[in-house]
Amino acid sequence: MTKTITDVICPFCGTLCDDLEVVVSDDGKQLLEVYNACAIGAEKFLHSQAKDRITRPRMRQEDGSWKEITYDEAIEYTAQMLANAKKPLMYGWSSTNCEAQALGSELGEIVGAVMDNTATVCHGTSLIAVQDIGIPSCTLGEVKNRADRIVFWGCNPAHAHPRHMSRYSIFPRGFFTGKGHKGRKVIVVDPRPTDTANVADVHLQVEQGRDYELLNAFRVAFKGEKLPDVVAGIPKEKIYEAAETLKSGRFAIIFFGMGVTQSLGKNHNIDAAIAVTRDLNEYTKAAIMPMRGHYNVTGSGQVWGWLFGFPFAVDLSRGYARYNPGETTANDLLRRDEVDAVFVLGSDPGAHFPFSSVKKIYDRPSVAIDPHETPTTEVCKVHVPVAFVGVEVGGCAYRMDNVPIETRKVVEPPEGMMTDEEFLSRVLARVKEIKGV
């Protein structure tokens, strides 16, 4: 006999789908099938069942090989490393639950760490822009029920957030959007002909790195002022037309991704995109939303918000919280040799940071807490495998629209494996002992 668990939350991307169904064996130890998930989400669940999964901590030896160690030894190494470091970097926090993030924050306070999350190489620029100009936004249900003008700017949900379009943005039939896809106009702004662009009514193939110009051209066009013949590779007629499409809608939403946040202009692009949204509110209703990547990167920004007042790049090393992106951000600290130990949880900087940063991790005392073997675990001194949050342990996660959802445990972790929370609370207790607090 098998059991089917419904309303399961997918711990992969910021779309945080909560309608998955998972079939598990009668004893709850084996996960057999995943329904309703996208290919990536299903893989995340099924991957937990891999037979060659690493289930015990490992320490790198002199000759580069791994030696299995106990959780107690891993806790001791981590606690000593953090307690003895002058300024450790505690990075990641995006693929874990808020409970672990809160524990990690307390730990960071005691050891004087720099806390940074994956926003630092993703939507951190958006967060900076929000500090400049604010952000008129909404929940995804508002989009589903009301939006008739959808813009995807520098993002490709067809591949990165596969169920976004069907659950929230393009296809669903909501309360005031009974015609679904037919009632909506979709504009995609992207230099590449993506699969998302294929389903759009309008594809504005902006020149690489010219988003700032195009966004400002929209602001000009809204006011009916003059534009040059071509802006950012787009003929002005198409810009006027797209601007009119947005103004004539009842409810417009702009979703944006790394194409604008990490290309030339960075936070200034987002400033302009939010200004476009503000302007649109003079004519109709408009909102804008970052397409957050990791399923709980949003949550780590929230937790640090209420504990420290800043959403990323929080430097606690002076005993109080400082925030200065460019100075207190993970890559800048690593490359300037300003941190003397590296703790990674719930992220894979080995795969996503520049090589010059990854080398610095390799050179330092370092711990990676991650269920998977990743490029990060390959450069760290100790790898602590843990249970999958959202699969083998529950806990709170925040969707890209900041809606908190409690993820579910659907299957038992391999015997004797710790969760992020258990590991962190043990390290915290040990650090308190060492520091005498």
Binding site: I110, S137, C138, G141, N145, F251, G319
Partner: protein, 568 residues
């Protein structure tokens, strides 16, 4: 648990009717007890000091999504405000939107022990509870917002009172909420289309119901259930010149309705931050105070309570579920604007604001708030708030006490205004010489709000049986004092007890307490129609499933459940 005896203080307690007489207060097993019930207590010498019950804040935005937007999008609010970790105290930062840790400590330092979060979007209830969990010391509850909720709009349009009540009971349970909050009824739903409801008869787009129907319906549903607190409203047309007529119209919706609650409150409507709703004139050029008209009504109708929403003349962060108002404000001051509309339920906005004594309107707002309190005939029905952080941060409560207790301090403030004469012309305050005493302050900050919340059996006084929430302030009311001494003493409690635990000893925080979260569990008759409607709406219009909506127990590690039986 330790026993305490607080000896020889000047006690101000409206519950026992003690007006500054010397008396002893004993605490045992977390409660106040008769002084002869303690055997070997730790004695606190309060000779020459003021002793009061722990403060109760009826309306403050301290936890939840919009509060955190305020924190995260205002790094400048942390400038010069950070305090490092020290002993038992964790890191603290932020001025107008402090971190949760600082929120708990700062309230405690003012002698406050119970604080109600004034607006919880139901879909974000988990977030609100996570923040309250991380706010030390204080007992807290949160009010879910109902005034723009699609279920409520549809039921009330069809006059379905019983269904409205059953839905309220369900949502309070699902969100672990405390009371029925209403913000700009209908107007925030209209804002989802970029519109607003500007008076109580302005129909809500599509739903075809008026704010008046929503308000009246929710009062009736609230009394049908007999909830501890009354319907708690922020009316339409907030912050606009001439809006006092909308406020009076809203008040009148409560006429003829009597409370049906076992929790001892007398009001059926609590109108919050009334300062923002008491403006005359028809433009910012001729705006004036209508506090007199407002207070004439409040003084003569005992089924209403209000709170002040006092402007403190600081740079602060405004945040409200009144989405259209925040858009209006950003158009006015051109500062950054955050907005978050919430599917089927509500919306909200956040905009920084500078209340400058050099701006005439800000000075007029300052006068209006104080007038409301000084014109109050019954301080048990008019409470001190700043609508934190909207009119100013809560840490200014002791400064407001100073203004209320000292005409001299008000004169000093008038002299500091750039447009003093114009401000005096547009307001009544300069002609009011009333000075409140500490007994009246205790009514406005302790006994009054506790009673209005339906929590007079727990908080607000020093009668045996109440929670052991006691504050001792280094203030001798019988000696001559300068106005600033009031602010100084009440900003920094010498001792504080919360549920019998000593939180502050000699001005130092010595415990993080055992914070509790209050919520109301209402039993109603089974209502298949409402449950069917709930299922249907989640299936078709929400983006989370019904089974993932309810806030589960572990978000409230230390819950205090108030049971209400409305099955009769």
């Amino acid at each position: 648990m330790a026993e305490y005896l607080i000896k020889n203080g000047f006690v101000f307690d409206p519950v026992l009717g003690i007006r500054g007489d010397k008396a002893d207060v004993a605490i045992k097993d977390g409660k106040i007890v008769e002084t002869n019930a303690v055997k070997s207590p730790k004695v606190i010498d309060a000779t020459g000091k003021t002793v009061m019950a722990g403060g109760v804040d009826v309306h403050s935005h301290v936890a939840g999504p919009k509060v955190n937007v305020g924190r995260n999008f205002r790094p400048e609010d942390k400038l010069f405000t950070y305090k490092p970790r020290n002993g038992i105290e964790r890191m603290q930062g932020g001025f107008s939107v402090p971190t949760t840790i600082r929120t708990g400590y700062n309230y405690a330092r003012m002698g406050y022990t119970t604080v109600m979060e004034a607006a919880m979007p139901p879909l974000y209830a988990r977030h609100t509870h996570e923040e309250m969990r991380d706010t030390p010391i204080l007992d807290q509850g949160a009010y879910p917002v109902f005034g723009n909720n699609w279920f409520v709009l549809e039921y009330l349009k069809n006059n379905e009172l019983e269904n409205t009540a059953a839905y309220i009971a369900w949502l309070l349970r699902a969100t672990k909420g405390y009371a029925v909050k209403v913000v700009n009824p209908g107007g925030t739903e209209a804002w989802a289309w970029g519109l607003n409801c500007e008076n109580i008869h302005d129909p809500v787009p599509y739903f075809d119901i008026t704010p008046a129907q929503i308000v009246k319906g929710l009062i009736e549903a609230n009394e049908y259930l007999g909830l501890p607190h009354s319907m708690h409203i922020h009316a339409n047309n907030l912050g606009n010149p001439g809006n006092y007529t909308t406020t009076l119209d809203t008040f009148k919706l409560s006429e003829g309705i009597k409370p049906k609650s076992k929790f001892g409150r007398d009001q059926v409507m609590h109108h919050t931050h009334v300062q923002f709703h008491s403006y005359g004139g028809d433009s910012w050029a001729n705006v004036d105070s209508r506090a007199k008209e407002i207070m004439d009504y409040v003084n003569s109708h005992d089924n209403i309570t209000i709170d002040m929403g006092q402007v403190t003349l600081d740079e602060t962060t405004t945040m409200t579920a009144d989405g259209p108002f925040e858009h209006h404000l950003t158009e006015l001051n051109h500062l950054k604007w955050a907005n978050a509309d919430v599917e089927l339920e509500t919306g909200s906005g956040v905009v920084p604001y500078v209340y400058s004594p050099d701006i005439k309107v800000c000075a007029i707002q300052w006068c209006i708030g104080l007038e409301l309190a000084l014109l109050a005939k019954d301080p048990m029905r008019v409470f001190m708030t700043t609508d934190h952080p909207n009119a100013g941060p809560f840490i200014r409560y002791p400064r407001i006490m100073k203004w209320l207790m000292s005409e001299e301090s008000r004169k000093q403030q008038f002299d500091a205004f750039k447009y003093k004469d114009k401000v005096i012309d547009a307001t009544n305050l300069a002609g009011i010489d009333r000075e409140l005493d500490l007994y009246e302050i205790a009514q406005m900050t302790r006994a009054g709000p506790a009673k209005a919340l339906g929590l007079a059996h727990m908080y607000g006084g020093l009668a045996p049986g109440l929670e052991g929430d006691v504050a001792v302030f280094d203030f001798n009311p019988n000696e001559p004092y300068a106005p600033d001494d009031i602010e100084k003493a009440f900003s920094n409690a010498e001792h504080l007890f919360k549920s019998g635990v000593q939180i502050i000893n000699n001005h130092e925080i010595v415990s993080n307490g055992n914070k509790r979260t209050l919520w109301v569990n209402t039993k109603v008759n089974e209502n298949p129609q409402v449950m069917r409607d709930v299922k249907e709406k989640f299936l078709r219009y929400y983006t989370v499933t019904l089974n993932n909506y309810e806030v589960s127990g572990h978000y409230l590690p230390n819950p205090y459940v108030i049971e209400v039986d409305a099955t009769q």
